[in-house]
C-alpha cells in the first residue's frame, strides 16, 4: 500500500487527511499516482494535486521527478509552507 497524506488547505479542500491505495509492482510516476487517486476519489483530486505550487514529498523528503512511488511509501501533498 501507498499512504497519501494531505495537509492544510489541500486537506480541507479534499476533505480527508489520509488515504491508502495499493501500488503496482513496478510503482507509479507522480502523474500515474495522481490519476489513480482521481480515479478513486474524484476528478477534483487531479485538479487540486496538480495546481501550481503544490509540494510533493516521498518518505518525508521533497520529491524529485525521477523517483517512483512504491508499496510502503508515504507520500504527502501540501501547499507552500508558512511556519516560523
Amino acid at each position: 500500500m501507498i499512504t497519501v497524506l494531505l495537509f492544510a488547505r489541500l486537506r480541507e479542500e479534499l476533505g480527508t487527511e489520509r488515504v491508502e491505495l495499493p501500488a503496482p509492482a513496478d510503482g507509479w510516476s507522480l502523474a500515474e499516482l495522481i490519476s489513480a487517486l482521481a480515479g478513486r476519489y474524484g476528478a477534483v483530486w487531479q485538479e487540486k494535486l496538480t495546481a501550481p505550487h503544490v509540494i510533493v514529498s516521498r518518505n518525508q523528503e521533497v520529491f524529485t521527478d525521477s523517483e517512483r512511488f512504491r508499496a510502503g511509501d508515504e507520500v504527502a501533498f501540501y501547499p507552500p509552507v508558512t511556519g516560523g
Binding site: L5, F7, A8, R9, H53, S57, Q60, A76, Y78, P79, P80, V81, T82, G83, G84
Partner: protein, 150 residues
C-alpha cells in the same frame, strides 16, 4: 545534554532555560530569535492555528541544523517550534545558537530561520473577526532562503 536539539511541541518554551542551556556550553557567543503571533492594526488576529507534518517537520529541522553546523563552527543549537492553537502575542518559535564568535552565531541563527520558513512543513491559519484563512507563503521568504546559496 545533546548540543544540537530540535523540538516540535504544543506547550510554550522557557526562553531563560533555553538560553541558559546554551550558556552552559561556555562557547562565548549566543544569538537567539523568538517569533511571536503578531497583531495587525487593520484586522487583529485573535488566534493562530499551526498545523504540521509530524515526523517530517522534526526531520527537516534536524537537517537544517546539520546544514548550519556544516557552514559555521557552532557549539550548540536549540530549535523549538510550537504547533496547535496560539493566542495573540504568544511565542511561536525559538532558535538559539552558541558559537565562539558573534558573527557566526548571528549568521547561523538567521540561516536557520530562513530555511525553517521555506522547508519545514508547517502551516498557519489565522482567525480574525472576519473568519479563518490560511496564511499565504511570501516570495520574500524564498528569496531570503535562496540568498544563502549565493
Amino acid at each position: 545534554m545533546d548540543r544540537f536539539q530540535v523540538a516540535v511541541q504544543t506547550e510554550d518554551f522557557d526562553v531563560g532555560a533555553e538560553t541558559t542551556a546554551l550558556q552552559q556550553l561556555e562557547a562565548g557567543a549566543i544569538a537567539t530569535f523568538i517569533g511571536t503571533v503578531r497583531s495587525s492594526a487593520d484586522e487583529p488576529v485573535e488566534a493562530l492555528e499551526l498545523e504540521h507534518y509530524p515526523g517530517m517537520t522534526e526531520r527537516q529541522l534536524g537537517k537544517i541544523v546539520e546544514e548550519a553546523v556544516a557552514r559555521w563552527p557552532l557549539a550548540g543549537v536549540r530549535v523549538i517550534h510550537r504547533v496547535g492553537q496560539l493566542q495573540q502575542g504568544a511565542r511561536i518559535v525559538f532558535v538559539g545558537v552558541a558559537s565562539a564568535h558573534r558573527r557566526d552565531a548571528f549568521e547561523a541563527c538567521s540561516f536557520i530561520m530562513d530555511y525553517l520558513k521555506t522547508r519545514a512543513p508547517i502551516w498557519k491559519k489565522q482567525h480574525t473577526a472576519g473568519g479563518a484563512s490560511w496564511v499565504e507563503a511570501r516570495a520574500s521568504d524564498d528569496v531570503a532562503a535562496a540568498s544563502w546559496d549565493q
